[in-house]
């Protein structure tokens, strides 16, 4: 269960010059770019999510076309030189390089966490490439002039990058492998004073903001994967909402891993100044591959006084096949800091990945701040999910609520793991937690592991948990009313998840319905 801990020491054994000279496809010095065939998939990731839930155990991740992209891939392996290479590729300032190196040094001394209820095939951190970038064809003069191949890929994913084709009111940052390929609606957002760009651009254009907040919520030493990310993160999204501004549109990022043997390590930072408001959605897909791929992201949210950040995730990384071969390791650290009367709300729909290790958390630092966590996690095939949240109550009169819906099917293992911590200063703080598990089949498992620490006697913590199955009687009832078994199952499972689906931003809910041609509850009338 505990992965072998060879990683921290091995990087030292790598040749100091980093690039592995036997890797024929790569020549670091000349920028000779390897040609990598990627298998892209069509279908809006959200529709895949819903369909995935619908089809449940036998949902296959089949999409028939592939795209050739010229990709710039670093050799596999991780040493200090790799970190320097990434930083140099991105033309980063010295302080950021030093920050990365500090993280790298920390990571080398750390062990992989072994407390999660996960069976992890040992990860060889030296066989991963830490940098892959699609090589764009000559860039023209507008945002829409993205490499046609990449644009085509996103079109097939159902995420048009042409602004005029965009769903109204959603700005998109598209990230392929390690690099942001485009951000839409930048100009419109700029008028409102909102900065929404790739992390790399932010480092160049707004270094003071990045420097102030990077690592302020998730310090480099926070955990093994966060330290790794801090050392080698490639790109990600950056959002800054100025004082008093309500972001005029939904912001979203689509992550896609394309290249083989690459890890994706993105870094997202959202800063909402006093009295501002922003809603953000991220989606993820990856091609079907036989080997496991590592995705270790860090997301940091800063909600200043009375600000509100709503962060929604629809995660549909490749889950591996029905025998448990392949799939993404999704080891993600997400955390927000809520200042006085601020509100941070996490909503996640986690249907993909071979392994999910993820605990989006809120530090309720300011008085009367609010934290929310709404989660649907589906584990089918041989998927494993150990996910939940941490609500750290520091301020007085802080409130948090947790609604977790775990669905286990086939051989899936689903664990809810959540910490509610009431610090001594958390006068009259309140938490409500509800964990519901749904079991489909006899080989799967559902586990609930709540941790509750209360140091203030005025704090109130409530925890409710339930485990149920989709009853034969429910299916029979639906079928007697004319629905076939699949439709009936989809309806029952969607009903189970309804409280969480209701939290998804309207634009995406509407989009999902349109693409799914599956009406969800409440659509009548």
């Amino acid at each position: 269960m505990h992965p072998a801990n060879h990683a921290p020491s091995e990087p030292l054994n790598q040749p100091a010059d980093g690039p592995n000279s036997t890797d024929a496809d790569y020549n670091a010095g000349t920028g000779d770019l390897s040609k990598v065939t990627v298998g892209a998939r069509k279908g809006f990731l959200m529709s895949e999510t819903m369909r995935g839930i619908e089809e449940l155990t036998d949902a296959s991740y089949e999409y028939g076309f592939s795209t050739d992209l010229d990709t710039d891939v670093a050799p596999t392996g991780l040493t200090e030189e790799t970190v320097r290479l990434i930083s140099a590729k991105k033309d980063e300032p010295e302080w950021l390089l030093q920050w990365r190196l500090k993280a790298f040094a920390a990571w080398q001394e750390m062990d992989e966490p072994d407390w999660a209820k996960l069976q992890i095939t040992p990860i060889d951190y030296q066989s991963i490439s830490y940098w892959a970038a699609p090589k764009q064809k000559p860039v023209l003069d507008s945002m829409d002039d993205v490499d046609p191949d990449i644009r085509d890929m996103f079109d097939k994913l159902g995420i048009p990058l042409h602004e005029q084709k965009m769903l109204s009111n959603v700005a998109v940052d598209a990230i392929v492998d390690s690099v942001s390929v485009t951000t839409t609606f930048k100009a419109t957002l700029a008028e409102a004073g909102v900065i929404f760009c790739s992390f790399s651009e932010a480092v160049q254009d707004h270094p003071e903001l990045v420097k102030e907040h990077l690592g302020s919520v998730v310090p480099v030493r926070d955990n093994f994967f966060a330290a790794l990310n801090s050392a080698v993160f490639s790109d990600g999204s950056f959002c800054y909402i100025p004082k008093g501004v309500r972001c005029p549109m939904e912001l979203s990022t689509y992550f896609r891993i394309n290249s083989m043997n690459t890890g994706q390590f993105e870094r997202t930072l959202i800063v909402a100044e006093d009295d501002s408001h922003v809603s953000y959605l991220e989606g993820c897909t990856a091609p079907q591959r036989d080997e496991n791929q590592l995705h270790a992201a860090v997301v940091e949210l800063v909600a200043k006084d009375r600000a509100e950040i709503k962060y929604s995730t629809v995660q549909n990384w490749y889950p591996g096949d029905e025998n448990g071969v392949g799939g993404i390791y999704n080891f993600v650290t997400k955390r927000g800091r809520a200042h006085t009367e601020a509100k941070i709300s996490w909503t996640q729909v986690e249907t993909g990945s071979a392994i999910t290790w993820k605990y989006p958390s809120v530090i309720l630092q300011g008085d009367r701040s609010i934290g929310e966590f709404y989660s649907v996690a589906l584990s089918s095939k041989h998927q494993q999910a150990d996910t939940g949240t941490k609500m750290i109550h520091i301020g007085a009169d802080t409130t948090s609520s947790i609604i977790s819906k775990g669905i286990s099917a086939s051989h899936g293992q689903n664990t809810y793991r959540g910490l509610v911590k009431m610090m001594r200063s958390a006068e009259n703080a309140r938490n409500y937690t509800q964990c519901d598990s749904l079991l489909l089949g006899k080989e799967c498992g559902a586990h609930t592991v709540p941790y509750i620490e209360v140091k203030n006697p005025t704090a109130q913590v409530e925890h409710e948990a339930s485990t149920s199955t989709v009853g034969e009687d429910q299916l029979y009832y639906c079928r007697q009313r004319g629905m076939n078994e699949e439709d009936a199952m989809a309806m029952i499972v969607n009903g189970f998840c309804r409280e969480v689906f209701n939290e998804l931003p309207m634009e995406f809910a509407v989009e999902a319905q349109r693409l799914l041609s599956v009406s969800l509850e409440g659509s009548v009338g």
Partner: protein
């Protein structure tokens, strides 16, 4: 319309129905009465297509072999069952459930789906019929419904589905007298010359409100007696004891026959 011939049903090694014969013509309402454990509900579920039964004999609806069909195809063929214990489906809006059900059978029959507006009209009419509170339409299917509300909801579904054959399994159980009256009113309003009904009940009480054309007495897996509604009155007075040990051969009670 419905023909049941020598129907046998076993669950595991236990025979429940032991050769049941029944014919229900278009527009007829048949009541099936019998003591606990006689096989009444099993008969209803055998018609609806529940899993887990070993079935013999033949059942046809308008000449079509019901026993060969999946439950959803029987529904599309016009079979509706009112459940004794309606099932709760958390998070699924009652109205959405109903419309999905209706459109599922319409699709199977090759008909156009009904739009939201037209459906709302159909649903409203059915709501009035069963005197159901508006908010129940927007709550989760049967979740937090009282016993009476659940049964009304079954009749509401029946009104919307407009079946060819309705099988009502102990629809009167657990109802107070007012709810019983409302449910019966709904059933009576849905009687048409084309629609057949099988009303399964323990008690004659329901038959004060729903006048059956024929009453059958089911004892130990067989119909041992058939007659008009006076048979039900006889049962009310004398119970099922007199039927328990009888064979079909010597069945003759107050001259009533099917």
């Amino acid at each position: 319309m419905l023909h049941v011939e020598n129907l046998t049903v076993s669950i595991g090694d236990t025979p429940i129905l032991k050769g049941l014969d029944l014919g229900v013509g278009a527009g007829e309402v048949h009541a099936i009465m019998g003591p606990n454990g006689s096989g009444k509900s099993t008969f209803a579920h055998a018609l609806a297509g529940r899993d887990g039964y070993e079935i013999g004999g033949t059942v046809t609806l308008d000449g079509a072999d019901l026993l060969a069909m999946e439950p959803e195809d029987r529904a599309a063929a016009g079979v509706f069952m009112g459940f004794q214990y309606p099932v709760e489906i958390p998070g699924v809006n009652n109205m959405y459930f109903l419309r999905t059900a209706l459109n599922s059978v319409r699709r199977t029959r090759g008909e156009d789906e009904i739009g939201a507006r037209d459906f709302l009209e159909v649903a409203q009419e059915a709501m009035e019929l069963v005197e159901m509170k508006q908010d129940l339409l927007y709550r989760s299917v049967n979740v937090g419904f009282s016993g009476g509300e659940k049964k009304r909801n079954e009749i509401l579904q029946m009104a919307v589905m407009a079946p060819r054959l309705a099988v009502l399994d102990e629809t009167d159980s657990g109802l107070d007298i007012d709810a019983l009256r409302v449910v019966a009113k709904g059933v009576n309003a849905l009687r048409t010359p084309e629609r057949s009904m099988i009303v399964i009940t323990h008690y004659q009480r329901l038959l004060d409100y729903i006048k059956p054309d024929v009453v059958h007495v089911l004892v130990d897996g067989k119909i041992v007696e058939s007659g008009d509604h006076t048979l039900a009155l006889h049962l009310e007075d004398h119970g099922y004891a007199g039927f328990a040990d009888r064979d079909l051969d010597d069945a003759s009670l107050s001259g009533a026959t099917a």
